[in-house]
């Protein structure tokens, strides 16, 4: 073979050349090649990998910093962008704790007796998510909000034995895309209900549901930031024998808004990023899934439960595993294995840090500042709100200039502007989705409004 026989010491590899030789001798081989004899010669790689040369740590970091610095991140630009990912303040303690090596360098807690830390934390996360959503059970995490919605649809099909899903077009378009991908080969029909005045109106939803409807899927606050009429929608779904799946892309809203469980949601599927997770250019994020107790055995994903040890002490284990792929294989409720445990841990720490009053309070600050921003921006001649429905921390404006152009100008002033909706909603080509969280100060809002006014005036 032409493979290199030399051995370069490497900081991640304890093995030295001498040890390699001693170990080879111990197993009766003379070279590592002997161990590779089962690999057919014709498929061996007869050259070194053509990869950029190895970098020393300092050089690596310099290189990465350079790449990172080319991005218009939220420490550089004042962020008014939302649309499924939200720039919230994360208490310092959250990642001091979630970032502890005992958590992040662990695997799935298969050996419960030595993994009580993350098992208990997951149990607590499940409990807190139930409290926040007013649902009965929650799992330990899914990949993200969009795939959680996809899995929820499959779950609804399994529960109802029906094969159609009604979904509002005011659900985040990427969530709907994933929904379509996830259901395409399972004989599930997707029926889209066009939004009206920014909402999934009960009338239109009622017109779309039928005998084969497994579930009605709405998002609240929806992709336009508008708060849906959950109770009415639940009634429609339930009267048709279907489940109501509520997607929650902005769980901070639940600090202030009526939780889905209170208005009849059967499944809550959502995105947990806003709960203590970084923007991360889209991931890792946190798929949240909560439902009714009766549905738990059709739930995808891991569940942590409390039990006792031989001495009767409380302890925690992975449970109801017969739902999962490693036991049930092709009959499992889902194929999910690796999930987003660390992000769920961070979300749990975040919820515990904010707590009963803090969660309400942070939601309130979001709502108040967003409302203020909406008023300030709508006072600019030529700008008007796209919809009348109440909103939480996002809202859509009709702009007298192209939203993309405005955003380009805003960058010059140090702002990351709202989302130009035209790409997702051609009928909203002048639509600008603005997000204002508690991380934005009044001064920043005022500055944004001033610059927007100036740009609009000049155009």
């Amino acid at each position: 073979m032409t493979a290199p026989v030399s051995w370069q010491p490497h900081k991640y590899l304890p093995m030295t050349a001498e040890e390699r030789d001693e170990m080879l001798r111990a197993i009766g081989c003379s070279t590592v090649e002997d161990l590779l004899a089962d690999i057919p010669v014709q498929v061996r790689l007869r050259r070194a990998l053509n990869l950029p040369p190895d970098l020393a740590e300092a050089d690596l970091l310099a290189h990465l910093r350079q790449m990172a610095d080319r991005n218009g991140h939220a420490d550089r630009l004042i962020c008014f962008l939302g649309g499924g990912a939200y720039d919230h303040w994360i208490p310092s303690a959250v990642w001091h704790l979630a970032g502890r090596a005992e958590f992040y360098t662990a695997y799935t807690p298969y050996q419960a007796e030595v993994m009580q830390g993350e098992l208990q934390a997951a149990y607590e996360y499940q409990s807190m998510l139930c409290e926040l959503t007013a649902m009965e059970v929650a799992n330990a995490s899914m990949y993200d909000g969009a795939s959680a919605v996809g899995e929820a649809a499959v779950m609804a099909r399994d529960l109802t034995k029906r094969n159609a899903v009604v979904v509002s077009t005011a659900v985040h378009p990427q969530y709907r895309e994933v929904l379509r991908t996830y259901t395409r080969h399972l004989g599930i029909r997707i029926v889209e209900v066009p939004y009206q005045a920014g909402l999934a109106t009960p009338e239109r939803v009622a017109a779309a549901v039928g005998e084969q409807t497994a579930a009605v899927i709405v998002q609240s606050p929806n992709v336009f930031g508008c708060i849906e009429q959950g109770r009415a929608l639940a009634q429609i779904a339930h009267e048709a024998g279907a489940l109501l799946i509520v997607a929650v892309a902005e769980p901070i809203s639940l600090g202030l808004l009526e939780p889905p469980g209170a208005y009849g949601a059967d499944i809550v599927a959502g995105e947990g990023q806003p709960l203590g997770n970084h923007l991360n250019f889209g991931g890792p994020y946190l798929g949240m899934l909560a439902t009714r107790e009766a549905f738990v055995r059709r739930m995808p994903g891991r569940l942590v439960g409390a039990t006792t040890d031989r001495e009767g002490r409380r302890g925690f284990v992975l449970t109801l595993q017969t739902r999962e792929q490693h036991i049930r294989r092709e009959k499992a409720t889902s194929n999910i294995c690796t999930n987003e445990a660390l992000n769920a841990l961070a979300a749990g720490i975040y919820m515990a840090a904010l707590g009963r009053t803090g969660m309400r309070r942070v939601a309130e600050v979001n709502a108040r500042r967003a409302h203020y921003a909406k008023q300030r921006l709508c006072a600019i001649p030529g700008i008007r709100p796209a919809f009348d429905a109440p909103t939480f921390n996002e809202f859509v404006l009709h702009l007298p200039v192209a939203p993309g152009d405005l955003n380009a100008r805003l960058v010059e002033y140090g702002f990351l502007g709202g989302l130009a909706l035209g790409r997702w909603y051609p009928d909203l080509a002048d639509g600008w989705l603005v997000c204002v969280t508690e991380a934005r100060t009044r001064a920043q809002i005022d500055a944004l409004a001033d610059v927007v006014a100036q740009v609009v005036r000049a155009s």
Binding site: M67, A85, M128, N280, G305, R329, N335, C337
Partner: protein, 492 residues
């Protein structure tokens, strides 16, 4: 010194305690009803814990100390590749330019991130012998699903309605589960006496209804599929595609490339092969690498070169669509990128060391346990606890629990399913010989205990913060959450 018991965070709760300070809204006061609508207002605050910051920090610090992890000790969990997670990669992922980058940021503001992905695509292709990569999938199983959907789209695009996917009996559970989620019927093919896929059975199963074979190579026995070339011929011969479950890729980096073995598409578990931390179960990332003929079906968005820069493309007519929102688990991919740039072409050594470590450990343990498939292993190997079970009534589960008493995480057990009382050991290349020897000593001592003191093994663990937990009771009467006390007030 260690707490025997950490109360639930809810049990620390005292009304009125706070762990955060929030600034005032600082904007004109408007009734909340007027903002979000009276009918939408939450009536009762969520019954979240009320704790102070010192409570919070101590709680989760204590919990962390009740967790086994790679940074704490040897973690020979077969199939999971629990290698060392480099610290500099964590720093990389936490750079504000990455961690604070909004996924909806316009492309001009994300050039650094897109470049990183593009270069990672190139590196993954070089290592795998494939042509393109999608970064959408969040984990290995997600990658399997994505790949199968592309395979399905490929066949459908050619007017073929293939309905079956072949999976060896040694396969990981995610393989059949993913096939089912893609609407395929799963055909299980047995393994032969050497632990390879049974070619005769494969030939029988391979017909025009087969969309793909899902193979793991090295397989879950830690053995290289010796006849992979022939297997590929069989599969390609019936018009089906070769899918590689890349979970065991750590064995062959720079040694052999799946693309050269005849695989058409594979997923990469960056949280196994490329050292990104497992995070206690996640996050990971399961990018899929594939040959050119599958490119049209890539999920959106793809990362594309665009003049001097890069862009995300989500207008691909034949795409299978998205499998998640945004681009993928970017923060995880940054770590993988940092890892690959730290090794460069030296990457091959990781596999050499992983294979040597496994064979060395196997050599030491061989006399004490059954070895159903006695071959040179790759990066892991599977023993059987059959002898201990039949002769001393000690199950593999007991042996695993006893290892905890010796300060080690247990290997994977009862997988693959085709090995009775399976004990699947993967040391990885980041462990020293000293650690392997000490672990071997412990396992050998336990093998002796099975003879001399089986009761101690059967009732293990004894030195952990809790003793053996009752999983049956947990499943029978599920207790999946804390519940607030029925009347409001102090929790304890």
């Amino acid at each position: 010194m260690r707490m025997d018991n950490v109360p639930l965070i809810f049990e620390y709760s005292v009304p009125g305690r706070v762990a955060v300070a929030l600034s005032d809204p600082g904007v004109p006061e408007v009734p909340l009803e007027a903002i979000v609508g009276a009918e939408h207002l939450r009536r009762e605050p969520a019954a979240l814990p009320e704790v102070s910051e010192p409570d919070l920090v101590r709680h989760y610090t204590r919990l962390s100390q009740r967790n086994y992890a790679v940074d704490v000790g040897f973690y020979p969990l077969g199939s999971c590749t629990m290698k060392y997670n480099p610290k500099v990669n964590e720093d990389a992922a936490r750079l504000p330019g990455f961690a604070r980058l909004h996924p909806n940021a316009p492309r001009e503001l994300a050039q650094g991130a897109l470049q990183l992905l593009w270069e990672l695509d190139r590196m993954f292709c070089e290592i795998s012998g494939m042509d393109r990569v999608t970064f959408q999938p969040a984990a290995g199983a997600h990658g399997e699903l994505t790949a199968l959907m592309m395979i399905r789209a490929y066949h459908e695009d050619r007017g073929e309605q293939r309905t079956r996917v072949i999976v060896p009996d040694s396969a990981h559970g995610t393989n059949p589960a993913s096939a089912a989620m893609c609407g395929y019927t799963v055909v299980t093919v047995p393994s032969d006496a050497r632990g390879n896929i049974d070619r005769a059975a494969l030939r029988r199963a391979a017909d025009g209804s087969v969309a793909a074979l899902m193979l793991t190579n090295p397989n879950t026995l830690g053995l290289f599929e010796e006849h992979v070339v022939e297997v590929a011929e069989i599969i390609h011969g019936c018009g089906a595609l070769m899918y590689l479950d890349g979970a065991n890729f750590n064995a062959v980096l720079g040694i052999t490339r799946p693309g050269d073995q005849g695989f058409d598409v594979m997923h990469l578990n960056v949280h196994k092969t490329f050292s990104t931390p497992h995070g206690g179960g996640g996050p990971g990332a399961g990018p899929v690498a594939l040959k050119q003929m599958l490119e049209p079906y890539l999920p959106t968005p793809t990362v594309e070169r665009d003049g001097d820069g890069f862009r995300l493309d989500d207008e691909r007519p034949k795409t299978i669509g998205r499998v998640r929102a945004f681009v993928g688990n970017f923060g995880v991919l940054v770590r993988a990128y940092a890892y690959l740039r730290t090794f460069g072409p030296l990457l091959r050594q990781t596999s050499e060391a992983a294979v040597l470590n496994a064979n060395y450990l196997l050599q030491r343990l061989r006399p004490y346990f059954d070895l159903p498939y006695d071959r040179t292993c790759m990066h892991e190997f599977v023993l059987s606890g059959r002898r201990q079970k039949t002769q001393y009534g000690v199950r593999t589960l007991d042996i695993a629990k006893r290892l905890l008493d010796y300060g080690y995480h247990a290997p994977t057990i009862y997988f693959p399913l085709i090995v009775d009382e399976a004990i699947m050991i993967e040391p990885t290349e980041t462990e020293s010989r000293q650690t392997l020897d000490a672990f071997a000593d412990a396992l050998i001592r336990i093998a002796e205990e099975c003879e001399t003191d089986p009761e101690t093994v059967r009732t293990a663990p004894h030195r952990t913060v809790v003793t053996r937990l009752d999983e049956v009771a947990a499943a029978r009467n599920p207790n999946l959450r804390w519940r607030p006390p029925t009347k409001a007030g102090v929790t304890r």
